[in-house]
Symmetry: none
Subunit: 247 residues, 2 copies
């Protein structure tokens, strides 16, 4: 019996379609979750339709723990979250997915075993199932169209789990490692364009020339140009001059 302590167990409660079990496995593995438990699947187990759908994530199905009922699936779990669409009248802490996975991360770090329950496609978890959970995870979907399917709900939990645990989440990297042009290179580019455009008679009429030059300089100095951009811009201008002189 494989129970990786460092990740939550994903527990599919009485899943119906094999395709959905396979899709859930894929969704899990997309975010590095590979510990699945399956409670009383409607169409028995193993399920060829699940295997067909899981493709690259088939290993998760091979290693999934088949359980006759929910208590058996939760036997070794210290803290259990139940995912629900509609609100329940049960008195329990309700987490948004992000808060739930933050809480799960903290518990797992402190050595607890955590599970997340997902109900059958049609009706979702029964109140008896939810009664066995410590907390509820409610996904804030559009009230006019709360139609998340099983694999999508698993996907969102996996995504939030991954966000909690990956140290290296890229946050708006402002193009780190980019080879920006130096002030001197921008100055040189500005001069090159100003001189050529002067020859070309661009700064006209005379009384506007000064402000046109200022605007052009201002643009070059404002734009975040890379060294490659500057090379290309120089090359374009040189080519225009060659073109002119060719005939």
């Amino acid at each position: 019996m494989i129970t990786p302590p460092a990740i939550p167990a994903i527990v599919l409660v009485r899943p119906q379609m094999g395709e959905n079990i396979g899709a859930a496995a894929r969704a899990m593995w997309n975010f590095g979750l590979d510990h699945m438990r399956i409670v009383a699947p409607r169409d028995g187990w193993p399920n060829p339709a699940a295997v067909a759908m899981a493709s690259g994530a088939g290993r998760l199905l091979d290693e999934a723990r088949l359980c006759p009922d929910l208590p058996a699936a939760l036997e070794d779990c210290d803290y259990v979250y139940a995912t629900t669409a509609r609100d329940r009248d049960l008195t329990k802490p309700v987490f948004a997915p992000e808060a739930a996975m933050a809480d799960a991360t903290a518990r797992i770090t402190s050595g607890q075993r955590v599970a997340v329950l997902f109900g059958p496609e049609r009706a979702g978890l029964e109140n008896e199932d939810i009664a066995r959970a410590n907390a509820i995870i409610s996904v804030p979907v559009n009230p006019d169209f709360p139609s998340l399917n099983l694999a999508q709900c698993v996907l969102l939990m996996g995504y939030e789990w991954q966000r909690q645990t990956s140290e290296v989440t890229l946050q708006s990297t402002d193009m780190a490692g980019t080879d920006w042009a130096s002030g001197g290179e921008i100055e040189h580019l500005a001069k090159h364009y100003e001189e050529r455009m002067e020859e070309a008679g661009f700064f006209f009429p005379d009384h506007k020339a000064a402000s046109m030059k200022v605007n052009l300089r201002n643009m070059w100095s404002r734009l975040p140009l890379t060294r490659a951009d500057v090379q290309m811009l120089h090359g374009m201008m040189r080519q225009m001059v060659r073109w002119k002189e060719r005939d």
Copy 2:
């Protein structure tokens, strides 16, 4: 032409399976996004398979804007994000989904029109597509199994959008008030320069021409150009041509 200003447009670029278009519509509507644009769908439009899959979200397909190519789809957009799985060597800001939707919220609050691009199921967006975007959104999936499908990728963006906007405080950006060039104006500028530089023989040697064009496009779409910058750049190019033709 329907363009709700308050939400990002979801642009499906050359989608293949109608089922996936329908599933994307469902994923959007789950999180309150209902502005879809469809670029050159493989199997034509309307698509019965898409309608069948969309069910409750069918309205999005009825109202979706069908576009012959990407420039047409982005014509009225001020800022465009391209979703990619694998890394690209294009110089662009890269956002995680959360940061991207935070950025999009700020831009929309300041009156900009924002779009998010999703590529074809098989291969994703081409570099020419990405060159037309201002930034990249990269979903941090399991490198051993980065198998998100189209609707799942749309779902994650919708989820992050919903999280951003449900947080009532929408901070506006310092760029508010600036008269930025629209996507259509940038596209027109890029075409103008590409055509003239083609005539001038800039894209040489032939085997490098394609990548040179992509780099040039990528620069235009990446630079924060104002409407005045664009006018000036057009004027400079026109003047170079006049100069050439004068003698």
